[in-house]
């Protein structure tokens, strides 16, 4: 690369435009092969043989920084008071991109959420619902349920993450703690097949009642038909070449 940028602007040649590299001590969720999405042998560049592991940011160690430590201390203390070993309930704590995530063992989710809501030092009174994520490569913990809790009292936001295997897609319902999760859990059930045990009426909410399958799972095809445009066939979106 030359010293001078073709346009004469050289300010981003020092590498500031590249996201900072992350440590490799993360959670491996899959492997990516190839480069240009050509699996049919059409790629002769050699890049088709690339194998890269996909790693999500791993557990963080103390101090987490800012108010994160305060929340973690308070939560652990409050759980201990209830006779719970914090290490059993909180599988790991991840600090990434300025956000605090507690990975919670699913059997303790309701207790943890109730503590987060009711403890005066925590007071996460607003739940913004649940978002499902399906990691096909994360064996034994394929289905993730992600909750964002907001504390208006303390002006904080944290994330809870719970996982369940595909073979046993059960997570306890938080409707008793956060009634707002009623529709959110129905939506996540509808799209991911995550069964929220204890939900008052876990039925489909977006898809028709008699729909088969769970559309947002990664092994569920997007569907679509090829379209002809100016004489050329454009394949359906999920059949097009993917560069990932």
């Amino acid at each position: 690369m030359t010293e001078k940028h073709p346009n004469g602007e050289g300010e981003h040649l020092d590498g500031t435009g590249v996201p900072s590299p992350r440590d490799t001590s993360g959670e491996v969720i899959g492997v990516r092969r190839g480069m240009f999405g050509a699996d049919d042998g059409g790629d002769t560049s050699g890049y088709g043989g690339l194998v890269r592991t996909i790693t999500l940011p791993g557990a963080s160690s103390r101090p987490y920084g800012g108010w994160f430590d305060e929340v973690a201390d308070e939560l652990e203390g409050a759980l201990e008071e209830q006779g719970l070993v914090p290490e059993n309930a909180i599988e790991k704590t991840v600090v990434d991109r300025g956000e605090l995530t507690f990975h919670i063992a699913r059997e303790h989710l309701v207790r943890v959420a109730r503590t987060l809501r009711d403890d005066p030092a925590l007071r996460f009174e607003l739940c913004t619902g649940v978002s499902g994520v399906h990691f096909l490569g994360d064996k034994g913990r394929e289905l993730h349920a992600v909750y964002h809790l907001r504390s208006i009292t303390h002006n904080r936001l944290i994330r809870l993450e719970v996982s369940a295997p595909d073979a046993d897609p059960h997570v306890p319902s938080l409707v008793a703690v956060y009634p707002t999760n009623d529709w959110h859990e129905r939506e996540t059930y509808d799209f991911f097949g995550l069964v929220f045990d204890g939900h008052p009426a876990l039925t489909r909410i977006m898809m028709p009642d008699d729909w088969q399958g769970f559309p947002q799972r990664k092994d569920y095809p997007l569907g679509g038909i090829p379209v002809e445009y100016k004489g050329a066939q454009i394949p359906a979106p999920d059949q097009r070449r993917s560069y990932s």
Binding site: P6, E9, H12, G17, V18, P19, S20, R22, G26, I29, G30, R32, R52, I54, T55, L56, P57, D96, R97, G98, E99, T101, E125, L126, C127, T128, G129, S131, G132, V133, V146, H148, R150, I152, N155, L157, R159, Y178, P179, T180, N181, D182, W183, H184, E187, F191, R204, I205, M206, M207, P208, P215, Q216, L222, P237, D238, R240, S242, Y243, S244
Partner: protein
């Protein structure tokens, strides 16, 4: 299938669930008479999914006793288009084209929330040019006004106040003209992109917005004159759709619904984004917990938005509107050609004629897109309806691994039952209108 009916407007047929009447307008007395013949006192009314008073394809299932609603439920999903699933099959930049269509009355909020999430994943929040951020705020505040105007206009129409409807759409049209000038479209803009904006303001835009601000200062008081003190309007709105603070917190209601319960929670103040902490504006609240309070809050929020728009215009200084990183920024400036909006001729001349590398770069960035480091992020903005949150997950690829939108309409609509049960059928319309649900956002 259908038995001979008393009139064409209310046909009846027998099903396993009992007699079902289909009402398509006409004489209500006839329906009531034929329903009175049934030995069952319990009547379930299906309002929607295409009733004009239900804000799109919302289905309200009301169990009524006389005029009183004893149970109310929502049926949603009629406008589900799989936007979140579709996003997983496009590049990160193409994502804005989808998200802008979710809550189609607040396109700029959807786009900004999505882009803030992607930028957080990329770690480039600090490198978004000031001009792009100011323009995002400007567009969002204009959008807040156009969304509130539709809410007030359609809400008025549902009460039979057609003048308000005409006024609201008249003023919204001025805002849509500004959108059209800036983005080329009246809705579904896909103008805000990860890293900045699709393009800069066209010539004349600032003047037109200033002109609009002037006109709006004149027009906004008309809503006060027309509605705020209007006894009929107040009689229909006051103490209707009641939801107190405890109810709001439990049901996760945000936005005007929450602020009508007296809590001044606004993400622009609580967790500022896009530099909102540097703007001068107030968060209006009401302590009435009812539809009238929400109406007043929306009216006041439009005045505050106007203040922010003026501050944005004063701050605008020339500069880039896209992040400097050429691995993310779209390589071409868009310009208007004889066949519509496209890459500028200068850029095409350069990549086709003089620089093979630039051509490759352009092609790769447009077809392949950029990679986003693995991880997840949550970004939230205060949309006109409440907290619009987006949960973005990347697996390091050129496409989103998962994008989930926490749409405020979806969450707030859950409060419908709490607001309507025990009230009158006619008040259901007012209560739903005060939530301001947009089904494109609810169903996504």
């Amino acid at each position: 299938m259908s038995t001979p009916s008393a009139s064409a407007s209310a046909s009846a047929r027998e099903t396993t669930e009992g007699t079902v009447y289909t009402v398509t307008g006409g004489d209500w007395d006839e329906v009531v008479q034929s329903a009175a013949k049934a030995d069952d006192e319990r009547i379930i009314v299906n309002m929607g999914p295409q009733h004009p008073s239900t804000h799109g394809v919302l289905r309200l299932i009301l169990e009524i006793e006389g005029e009183t609603v004893s149970e109310a439920r929502c049926g949603i999903g009629y406008l589900h288009t799989g936007i979140e699933k579709n996003l997983e099959y496009r590049t990160w930049t193409q994502g804005t084209t989808f998200v802008t269509r979710m809550d189609y009355l607040t396109p700029f909020f959807n786009e900004t929330a999505y882009c803030l999430g992607v930028e957080k994943l990329l770690g480039i929040e600090d490198r978004i040019p000031d001009r792009a951020t100011i323009l995002r705020v400007l567009l969002m505040e204009l959008n807040r006004m156009s969304s509130h105007l539709v809410c007030i206009a359609t809400g008025g129409m549902e009460l039979g106040a057609t003048t308000i409807m005409i006024y609201g759409f008249r003023d919204r049209e001025l805002i849509l003209d500004i959108y059209e000038l800036i983005t080329g479209l009246r809705m579904n803009h896909a103008f805000i992109r990860p890293g900045g904006l699709a393009q800069d303001l066209p010539p004349g835009a600032v003047d037109q917005i200033r002109e609009f601000v002037k006109k709006m200062h004149k027009n906004l008081p008309e809503y006060d004159k027309l509605a705020t003190g209007n006894p009929i309007f107040k009689a229909r709105m006051q103490d209707v759709g009641h939801l107190d603070l405890a109810g709001c917190m439990a049901l996760g209601a945000t936005g005007p619904v929450l602020r009508s319960a007296g809590l001044p929670h606004d993400l622009r103040k609580a967790q500022p984004y896009c530099g909102y902490e540097t703007y001068d504006f107030d968060v209006p609240t009401a302590d009435t917990c009812d539809s009238y309070g929400r109406f007043l809050i929306r009216l006041e929020e439009m005045r505050q938005s106007l203040r922010i728009v003026e501050q944005c215009l004063d701050r605008l200084e020339p500069g880039p509107v896209m992040v400097a990183d050429k691995k993310i920024a779209w390589p071409a400036q868009l310009s208007l050609g004889p066949d519509g909006l496209g890459n500028s001729l200068d850029h095409i001349k350069k990549i086709m004629g003089t620089s093979m590398e630039a051509l490759i770069h352009h092609f790769k960035l447009v077809t392949e897109g950029f990679r986003v480091p693995p991880g997840q992020a949550y970004a939230a903005v205060e949309s006109p309806k409440g907290e619009l949150g987006v949960h973005v997950v990347s697996d390091g690829g050129t496409r989103p691994y998962r994008v989930h939108f926490r749409d405020p309409s979806f969450t707030n609509l859950q409060a419908m039952a709490a607001m309507c049960e025990g009230g009158q059928v006619a008040d259901v319309i007012v209560a739903v209108a005060s939530i301001d649900p947009v089904m494109g956002g609810v169903d996504r």
